[in-house]
């Protein structure tokens, strides 16, 4: 197996899908000649030409809306939002159009569009290049929201997203792009949308996470293991609709639950994970359901001490895990 970076996993998945299906095409800002501002589409313009890697005018609602129209026609567009923060101008197209086309037409039309968006912080991106935007979309029936954390999952889930006959919002943590590397098979594979993944076994406590925070949780779990505490780590991967079965089984198995995400706490994804557990396995719990999240401020500031204060890190997570284990 080859070791590749998180962003290479994106590029490979796009390239392979474009090779195998003529209906797959890309549109977004700077995705062509420039290969994307993060270089996620590097080389694709050269290989597939300007007709299949489209440098769109600077207008996110049109990028989403044009992709939706093409998807309804039968194409498999992959639209890029340059930064997830800018998806806000395309919310109406995504929520009221893409997510509702199948339902509103009684199944006559459908919308197999993928919308990729680099999200998350820790990159000196300040208030408008660091946002976690998942919660806004994790309440939209008809839409699927995924946020893989490893190159293996990125590649496999992006392929699944492109094959999916429904709209998928594909969130890529931008800090992971070059930081996270991992093994990926040479042969073709997919990773199913809708399934969480227990990436570490443990019987003392269960931590749910995703994205960059998943990696921090794994580091904290290793540290805690040195003290004899075994953490079960669940990578949620698909954020909407949630994999309730895996969540419930994992929570039951240890009785102690911590949910960790970079995004603000109130109304964040962690609240739904917590609510599912509180509804389905309350009496299996040995401790209150904990959430460790970003503070409830509009977004993370630019200034280094403030960004650091906002962001969780393996230490902060380790502390919370240790306290929970000792509860």
């Amino acid at each position: 197996m080859a070791v590749i970076s998180y962003i290479e996993a994106v590029t490979q998945a796009l390239r392979e899908e474009m090779l195998s299906d003529q209906k797959v095409f890309i549109l977004g800002e700077d995705v062509g000649v420039r290969g994307g501002v993060f270089r996620a589409t590097a080389g694709l313009y050269e290989e597939f030409g300007a007709d299949r890697v489209i440098d769109a005018p600077l207008a996110e609602s049109a990028i989403a809306g044009v992709a939706i129209g093409a998807a309804a026609y039968g194409m498999r567009p992959v639209a890029e939002m340059q930064f997830a923060d800018f998806i806000m101008t395309a919310v109406n197209q995504i929520v009221n159009e893409a997510a509702k086309m199948r339902y509103r037409s009684n199944g006559d039309w459908n919308c197999p569009v993928v919308i990729r968006a680099p999200y998350g912080g820790g990159v000196h991106g300040a208030l408008y290049h660091s946002q976690s935007i998942e919660a806004m979309f994790c309440h939209v029936p008809g839409l699927k929201v995924v946020a893989p954390s490893t190159p293996y999952d990125v590649k496999g889930m992006l392929k699944s997203a492109i094959h999916d006959n429904d709209p998928v919002l594909f969130l890529e943590h931008k800090r992971c792009y070059r930081l996270i590397k991992g093994e990926v098979p040479e042969s073709d594979y997919t990773v199913p949308i809708g399934k969480a993944d227990i990436k570490r076994d443990g019987s003392d406590l269960t931590v749910f996470s995703y994205g960059l925070m998943f990696h921090y949780v794994m580091q904290a779990a290793e540290k805690l293991a040195l003290e004899g505490v075994q953490t079960q780590v669940v990578d949620l991967r698909t954020l909407y609709p949630l994999d309730r079965e895996t969540i419930i089984a994992a929570a039951k198995s240890t009785g102690k639950v911590l949910i960790v995400h970079e995004d603000n706490k109130e109304g964040g994804l962690g609240s739904e994970v917590s609510a599912v557990i509180a509804e389905e396995c309350l009496f299996d719990l040995d401790a209150p359901i904990q959430r460790l999240c970003g503070p409830d401020v509009p977004a993370m500031p630019y200034s280094p001490p403030m960004e650091k204060f906002f962001m969780l890190n393996p230490d902060k997570i380790y502390q919370a895990m240790k306290e929970l284990a000792e509860f």
Binding site: F25, A72, Y73, N96, M101, R102, G107, G142
Partner: protein, 332 residues
């Protein structure tokens, strides 16, 4: 009287068909108001006054390969593309068999793959980028299809109109933007919506032609639309066409238009009602006779009556079907 339609390459049969669709749309619409006022259906939104623009426009397209992304008033357009009185009344009654949405959407939220009508929603102008996307997809696939999309003049102020039109202009896509300017956006008159002379003036900002046309004359609308469709099919890109029309009834069954426009104004507009005007033309050029007209009215009324009876009796969707079609239903 000059024979305008032959000069445009339209046969007598074709103009009679145009007249039929205009009348069909009007009669279905009127029926829906009656049903609404008698408490049988909760909502109507009308095409009345805009049928000539709609039918004239739709006739310029090829119903076997083009697509339409209409707006809620476009009953004339969807009728030309195949939607029947029965289809429309099934939708008005929100019955399971409604081909638009199986009763899920309000009436006039048109859609139907078999008719090449993209499913539409309520937020105005979201269909504009969709039409552009369909045109892009068609070109990618090497098809020579053209896409129709429409919207009101008030709606031309939405960002999605601007962004969609610009995308189409840059990529020279085969899509026609049809603005049905009926002078009001609910209660808000044109003068409070835009400050430009004509909505068609907006086209210059997107690098393609903008044309204004009398929306009460189906042949004029057909003429400019045909030109635009031909241009689009030849790879010359989009056109924005503004049809000047008037909405003869309130915005919808929930509206009371007396609060914002005078009865005199409405009566004045009724004198230019495109349906009698077109009938008059057809008679003057000898295509329509009193007899033929009576026959057509009868035929249309039969269709509308049958459709009403059928739709009223047709079953509702089951309550549990509310849960279907959120995502693709996978074979289990």
């Amino acid at each position: 009287m000059e024979n305008k339609h032959r000069a445009l390459g339209l046969s007598d049969q074709q103009v009679m068909d145009m007249y039929y669709y205009m009348m069909l749309a009007r009669r279905v619409d009127e029926r829906m108001w009656l049903l609404n006022r008698s408490g049988k259906i909760p909502f109507v939104i009308s095409c009345q006054g805009q049928e000539a623009a709609q039918v004239g426009a739709a006739f310029a397209f090829d119903r076997t390969k083009d697509f339409v992304c209409p707006y809620y008033r476009d009953m004339g357009v969807v009728a030309v593309f195949g939607m029947t009185a029965k289809d429309l009344l099934l939708s008005a009654f929100a019955k399971a068999e409604d081909p638009n949405s199986g009763g899920r959407q309000m009436p006039s939220h048109f859609g139907g793959k078999k008719y090449r009508i993209l499913t539409g929603s309520s937020p105005v102008t979201t269909q504009v980028p969709h039409a552009v996307g369909m045109a892009l997809a068609g070109r990618m696939e090497g098809k020579d299809l053209v896409v129709y999309t429409s919207f009101g003049e008030g709606s031309s102020n939405q960002g999605d109109f601007h962004e969609g039109a610009n995308f189409a202009g840059v990529h020279k896509l085969p899509v026609i933007f049809f603005c049905e300017n009926n002078k009001y956006a609910i209660s808000v008159p044109l003068s409070k919506q835009v400050a430009c002379e004509s909505i068609a003036d907006r086209a210059i900002g997107y690098g393609f032609p903008g044309v204004r046309v009398d929306g009460n004359d189906p042949l004029e609308v057909y003429r400019v639309m045909k030109e635009a469709v031909d241009r689009a099919r030849d790879g010359l890109g989009p056109t924005l066409i503004e049809a000047e029309t008037y909405r003869l009834v309130p915005h919808s069954s929930d509206d009371d238009d007396r609060s914002y426009r005078s009865r005199e104004e409405v009566e004045e507009a009724k004198k230019k009602d495109p349906i009698p005007l077109f009938a008059q033309y057809l008679k003057e050029v000898g295509v329509l006779t009193e007899k033929k007209e009576r026959e057509m009215v009868e035929k249309v009324m039969d269709e509308v009556n049958e459709a009403t009876v059928y739709a009223e009796k047709a079953p509702y969707p089951s309550p549990e079907s509310t849960l279907l079609h959120v995502y693709e239903e996978k074979q289990k």
